[in-house]
């Protein structure tokens, strides 16, 4: 079996004395779309931040494409081809849509492809082309999510982590965003999707991981896992 694109081994992450991620391990094979589900406070977002380099792990190892990236800062990890779309979109609200997207090509090795990447993102999200000169802060919630996703894709990453992209969005907008995520996946990008919407996450993913109290407690393909098994793991019953 080939090496997984992302391998998380016994990662622990803390906020002061509070242990948000206790001992999480999971693998994301290359080219797959994996959903990480779990209730509020299960540690999913902290695990994503830790993988992307925003939070330093207090224990464990993280490997990306076989290389140890444990403890590397976010600005270094993104240059290796791993991007994170943060929960709540996190646009640069005082910058235009186009400037937001251009920021996605900030790493030096991808700057030359800025023009091509912009066209690619505008093809994926045509509304962003119409709004290219508007301030990101003036966009709707859904459009801001599109900006954040587009920005993460500008550098052509091999893997994207999506942290609760559906949070606070209208059902139609969520549907639109998920269809784009599937499109991105079809183009060959490996995806790790963090979701609270269990139904949607299971429907989208090839592999499902369930997180409970800072640990990954269940792993399998949606076909292998029964609804009852997932429910039990999700609620810890």
């Amino acid at each position: 079996m080939s090496e997984p694109m992302l391998k998380i081994e016994g990662v622990q992450a803390k906020y002061g004395d509070f242990i948000a991620v206790a001992d999480a391990s999971l693998e994301v094979p290359e080219g797959k779309i994996v959903s990480l589900i779990g209730s509020n406070g299960a540690g999913k977002s902290t695990l994503m931040s830790t993988v992307a380099g925003l939070h330093k792990p207090s224990a464990g190892k993280i490997y990306f494409k076989g290389e140890d990236i444990t403890g590397l800062s976010a600005d270094k990890i993104v240059t290796r081809g791993l991007s994170l779309v943060l929960q709540g979109s996190h646009c640069f609200v005082r910058m235009t849509v186009e400037d937001n997207l251009i920021m996605g090509c900030f790493p030096k090795h991808v700057r030359k492809q800025t023009k091509d990447s912009l066209e690619r993102i505008y093809d994926l999200f045509p509304v962003l082309k119409e709004k290219r000169n508007d301030l990101a802060g003036s966009l709707s919630g859904g459009q801001r999510h599109m900006v954040a996703i587009g920005r993460a894709l500008m550098s052509n990453p091999e893997m994207v982590l999506f942290d609760e992209v559906s949070l606070g969005l209208a059902p139609n907008t969520i549907k639109g965003i998920y269809s784009r995520i599937k499109e991105i996946h079809k183009q060959g990008t490996t995806i790790l999707l963090v979701e609270q919407d269990t139904h949607r996450a299971i429907k989208t993913a090839e592999i499902v991981d369930v997180m409970l109290k800072g640990k990954v407690v269940l792993t399998g393909s949606p076909k292998e896992l029964s609804e009852d098994e997932i429910k039990k793991a999700y609620f810890g019953i």
Binding site: L54, L86, F92, R94, D99, F106
Partner: protein, 281 residues
């Protein structure tokens, strides 16, 4: 005609005020740091320009070719080596560090340069251009205004059109998202301080040509910079220009007796009514 003269003088004075504030507003907006040593940086720039111009026998304006890169590098080193480290503890200790720095720099300048008044000599010091009967523009004021405007325009274009400029604005908007784009936040802060000190070098050169200065003059320029930041809005470069012009006009209209008072009343009014300033959101 006298009213027009006052307005022209106010606008020209506003240019240098804007230049004094632009470095400070960058630090406020990007690094979220109140740099209490900014006035001393301006005076260091003034001394460097005066000494270089006199030693090399050149116009003080030419000295910025040397002073700007030096001050930029010193600023980067200062931020990377000292302030970034202190900022990890919190913004208050960083504020105290800049306060301590302002005292150290003022005392060091007193030791090195003595308390004697200094001023750079330029041939166009007293020259003026007559534009109508009873309407004159001081050549020096016009040059200083041009330099200020050019500095602010170049800085604005840099921030808007370059990768590095965009990364600075992105860091000011959302630190986490910026680092996820590949921006090294500490390095960006160091560059912001470098730019702030580079603008202080240019402002210092203008100050040295326009006014007499002492090692202890930094406090006055810090207050002016504060006024510009408060009125224009923290982090807003266009706001800096407008605020500079407002303060310049207020100063000239109020004259020697009330100029300072009007400027400070304006500052307090803005703090009370629109604390985010004219252009900040």
């Amino acid at each position: 005609m006298q009213v027009i003269q006052v307005i022209i003088n106010g606008i020209l004075l506003g240019g240098i005020y804007a230049l004094l504030g632009v470095g400070m507003t960058m630090m406020f907006g990007i690094v979220k740091l109140t740099n209490l040593a900014h006035g001393e940086f301006v005076i260091i720039g003034a001394y460097l320009s005066t000494i270089l111009a006199s030693a090399l026998g050149v116009d003080p304006i030419l000295t910025i070719i040397v002073t700007v890169p030096i001050m930029f590098l010193v600023g980067m080193g200062l931020q990377a080596g000292l302030i970034n480290r202190v900022m990890k503890i919190g913004s208050e200790p960083a504020l105290l560090v800049t306060f301590g720095l302002s005292i150290i720099l003022a005392d060091a300048m007193l030791l090195v340069f003595s308390a004697d008044a200094q001023r750079a000599n330029v041939p166009y010091n007293t020259a003026s251009i007559k534009i109508a009967n009873g309407l004159n523009i001081s050549t020096l004021d016009l040059i200083v205004f041009g330099i200020s405007l050019a500095t602010i325009v170049v800085l604005s274009v840099f921030l808007k059109k370059t990768f590095l400029g965009r990364s600075i604005r992105a860091t000011s908007d959302d630190l986490e998202a910026a680092s996820l784009m590949g921006v090294n936040v500490n390095r960006t802060y160091a560059i912001a301080m470098g730019i702030a000190m580079a603008t202080a070098a240019i402002a210092g050169m203008c100050v040295s040509m326009k006014w007499v200065f002492y090692p202890s003059s930094g406090g006055n320029y810090l207050l002016t910079a504060f006024g510009v930041v408060v009125i224009g809005g923290m982090g807003s470069i266009p706001g800096t220009m407008i605020a500079g012009l407002i303060l310049g006009l207020a100063q000239v209209i109020g004259g020697a007796n009330y100029g300072q008072l009007i400027a400070y009343v304006l500052m307090v009014l803005f703090l009370a009514v629109r604390p985010q300033g004219l252009f900040s959101k």
